[in-house]
Amino acid sequence: MIDPTFAGLLNRPAGFTDRPLLWDDITQAWTSECEIADLSLKLASRLEHGEKRLAFILATNSKATLVGFLALVAAGHAVALIDPGLPEDRLAHLLACYQPDILLGSAPLSSLASTIAGNWVCSDPTVDVPATAIRQGGNEPARLHPDLGLLLLTSGTTGGAKFVRLSWKALVTNARQIAHSLAITSESVGVGHLPFHYSYGLSVVTSHLIAGARVALMIDSLTSESFWAKVKASEGTHFAGVPFHYTVLARLGFDMVPSTVNMFTQAGGGLDARIQAMVLAKVEASQSRFCVMYGQTEAAPRIACLPSELLLDKRGSVGVAMPASAISICGQDGAALPVGQTGHVVYEGPNVMLGYADSRTDLALGDLMKGRLETGDLGWMDEDGFLYLSGRVARFAKIAGLRLSLDDIETQLSLLGSIACVDLGEQIAVVFEGEIPEDAKAQAKTLALASKIPPTSFLVRRLAELPRKSNGKIDYALVKAALDV
């Protein structure tokens, strides 16, 4: 069964129109809604199999990726979006762990498919459709839960093979919530420069599709000469970025931004107050909007949004919960805390994930969350329901919008000596017990490069002794306090 509404992302009861839908920077031209739908439905009929299968898309910001994604949605398959820039061994590990039945990508896939057991039929990519590799014959033993739609990796390039499991309903509901919160209209053009495989990047695409708006997918990035000319050529209205992008914009000067852009959104971590003030000045001068947002891949991904007109009144807040959802602040025991008290941020809404997966077997699992997500963030709420974040419970740092597991980093550097990693905002302190090993700085730098974060992200320090709790575990709060940074 092929779903011509693409799970609701392109639900056009009156039929697909010939209005432009997608601009991409490979063809540098518009493709119409009916052409995208036609390409996607044709590919869906090739990929359709009678039962749900698992597909990996090595996703780039291209027309072919969007067509491949929509085709898999229409064919009812489960889709994992993968960064084609992953280190080879990590990709090999994911393939071995999850045994996908279908591979889609921008480059030929036969050599990759040959690493997985089975008889594969491959086709080459064009500018319109991705390369395909399809495993012939029946499904592999581990079945897939009927509600399983999308799989996204929990952390950037470090870390294991852990996916967030999302239903299409959660993804599509969240796209609708975002379109509503940001007032995306059919006149909007989303600048799709954030990676398609990144939950924020994907949400820019889906929230515009669902609102009948247009999207401009860019492989180019904002540090290249042609980027802003492309934004202008595609009449981009909505620029979305993580703190890194706004730091770059602040450095380059906001005059770079063409006048077509009338909305800036920011998520993926807290933005430096100095840079936020610069964005505000730009927004006021150009009568545009600036919306600060908060989310997690586990919530498909948007949780809260701060409307532009309240940015000054509610400075420092990440906004209010998505429509038809709720945020509460809970104590250690799970009981709700009163207004103004800091505790664990809990989100309840229709866009919460089904759960995590560590292996193919886990893909048979259903909804383990029941719409409730303990975010692992600490924060408080004011009397009007605006959320203010104050840190993380869990051991993750966010650098340049990438979520990095501090435990993974410790593991990777632990051969050097006894070590503790602490989140310092846009930096991670790597603290050694005793002396700093000779190789430490070089290894930290190599790890930073492999993790695609600036080499200056790691601050290598030493403490005579790492503070520990009574159970022998490192007391990270004391480590941080002892660093005096």
Partner: protein
């Protein structure tokens, strides 16, 4: 130190390169580590080595090692 050496020093610091590295491979978004984040790290390294501030247009135009040398010649006092 020649201009080329000085520019290469900033690339070495940013991307952790050996002395004999083939400089023609240093092309923005083709060399794997030269991403947008790598780009801004490189700009910061060049600014430190040359004790200067780069113009926005020069930051955006710096798309290869050769281009970087050409641009930095305009910022070099020595």
């Amino acid at each position: 130190m020649t201009l080329e050496h000085k520019v290469f020093g900033a690339f070495q610091e940013t991307f952790d390169l050996p002395d004999a590295f083939d400089r023609t491979l240093l092309v923005y978004r083709e060399f794997p580590e030269w991403t947008s984040i790598g780009h801004m790290t490189l700009v910061a390294a060049l600014e430190t080595h040359f004790d200067t501030m780069l113009e926005a247009n020069d930051i955006l135009a710096m798309s290869s090692f050769d281009k970087a040398v050409e641009i930095m010649s305009r910022y070099d006092d020595n």
